[in-house]
């Protein structure tokens, strides 16, 4: 029972779903399957209830922040320069990322196999951050999805009680994002150096002569 067979079974059972195997280059060889949010609940219900699969235990729900990253690669292209066809190197810039991702690790307590890893991606990191909640399928996702909402800002539609879990309710930021700026509660150190020294000097000017 490999990931490819599971993928073809899901495609046979849930029509219209879009799946993609994301390979994992590390020696752990735990490849994951990217599912589309529209059919997510149907896919995981099949995974949980199918007789030979019975993935009844959702172990881990993780949120990951992929900010937009520019990658530039050098590509050799043939171009006509001064009338002669030459091969020159061109730098192609592309973007990866720009979304928030949620990863589910599924195991089976009945059949004792696993893990099957599912991934869902949001459309962007600003407004379109809605994903379907898998809490109706596995109750173990309840707290973990609340935590991803709290720390990353992904809004799970269909979650019974989506509110902050680790930070207080009035908190406005999503701290685990890569572009989160911590509040400046400066601490005096007797041996300030480097950036702490810089901040100390700024605080000094703000507070006036001491």
């Amino acid at each position: 029972m490999t990931l490819e067979t599971i993928k073809s079974e899901i495609e046979a059972t849930v029509p219209g779903c879009v799946l993609e195997i994301i390979p994992n280059p590390s020696p752990s060889a735990q490849h994951s399957l990217r599912i589309d949010p529209a059919h997510a609940v149907a896919i995981v219900t099949f995974l949980r209830d199918a007789e030979h699969l019975r993935f009844d235990y959702c172990s881990n729900v993780t949120g990951i922040d992929w900010p937009v990253k520019e990658i530039s690669e050098k590509v050799k292209v043939k171009q006509i320069v001064d009338g002669i066809e030459q091969e020159i190197e061109e730098v192609r810039k592309s973007h990866t990322g720009g979304y928030l991702e949620v990863v589910y690790h599924l195991f089976s307590m009945e059949k004792k196999h696993g893990p099957v890893i599912l991934r869902m991606r949001t459309e962007d990191r600003a407004e379109r951050v809605h994903l379907p909640s898998l809490t109706p399928v596995w109750q173990s996702a309840e707290f973990q999805e609340r935590e991803i909402f709290d720390l990353y800002g992904v809004i799970f539609d269909g979650h019974p009680d989506l509110r902050r879990i680790l930070m207080w309710d009035g908190f406005k930021d999503h701290p685990m994002r890569k572009d989160y700026v911590e509040p400046d509660d400066y601490e005096y150190e007797p041996t300030a150096h480097d950036e702490v020294l810089e901040r100390a000097r700024q605080h000094r000017t703000v507070m006036g002569a001491l």
């Binding site: 680790l166 207080w168 509040p183 509660d185 601490e187 005096y188 150096h193 100390a200 001491l210």
Partner: protein, 213 residues
């Protein structure tokens, strides 16, 4: 009073003492801690009150759950910003005379979690602390040493005069401002009446001995 006269009188069965000594002796030998463990240091605090490192010998056996009945708050563990208002509220509810022991690196200054967005960098930002115990976690013997240091501190407290302790001064505050949750941080981030860190000569820091940058 002459020490020799005191020992002579004691041999005859007469104990001579001052009111201050008696008052402090009673207080220091019956410090009741508040049942207040936050994190890992709490386990060492429990171990310090168990059979091997017996804190009961020092009179600190009775851990009270209610702050109204406790004299000593051992802040053991990381104080997070979510928990800080509760800590200050508990301190305000304790009756005078009250003391605070800041146990462990996290309660002193944030400890290993200092880079945290939710970690309060030291409980002495909001409440006055009497004894600090470094360590992560400090051994139970260190907690007992801190208790003994606190007892020595109490022993030296005078009943009258300008340097009498806070609970005997009518105008000294015994309750402090409780921070509340803001949008990005606690408000206020520290209490300037309580937290007066040592000033560092910023203009000299970063220069070598000759004064060059």
């Amino acid at each position: 009073m002459d020490e020799q006269l005191k020992t002579e009188l004691r041999k005859q069965g007469i104990v001579a003492t001052t009111l201050q000594e008696l008052y402090n002796w009673g207080r220091k030998n019956s410090l009741w801690p508040l049942n207040f463990g936050l994190a890992c240091c709490a386990i060492e605090m429990i171990a310090a009150s168990m059979a091997r490192y017996d804190m009961a010998r020092f009179g600190a056996e009775v851990f009270r759950p209610s702050p109204r009945q406790a004299d000593l708050m051992i802040v053991a563990g990381t104080v997070t910003k979510k928990m800080a208002p509760q800590v200050v509220r508990l301190y305000n509810q304790m009756a005078e005379p009250k003391y605070v022991i800041s146990m462990g690196a996290c309660a002193i200054s944030g400890g290993p979690f200092k880079q945290g967005y939710n970690v309060l960098k030291g409980i002495d930002r909001y409440i006055p602390v009497d004894v600090y115990i470094p360590g992560c976690p400090p051994r139970p013997e260190a907690l007992i040493d801190a208790l003994m240091t606190l007892q020595k501190l109490i022993d030296k407290q005078a009943l009258t005069g300008a340097d009498r302790p806070r609970h005997l001064k009518a105008e000294a505050p015994s309750e402090f401002v409780v921070p509340h949750f803001g949008e990005h941080d606690l408000e206020p981030p520290q209490n300037p009446e309580v937290w007066q860190p040592e000033l560092v000569n910023i203009s000299l820091a970063g220069t070598d001995d000759a004064g060059n940058n």
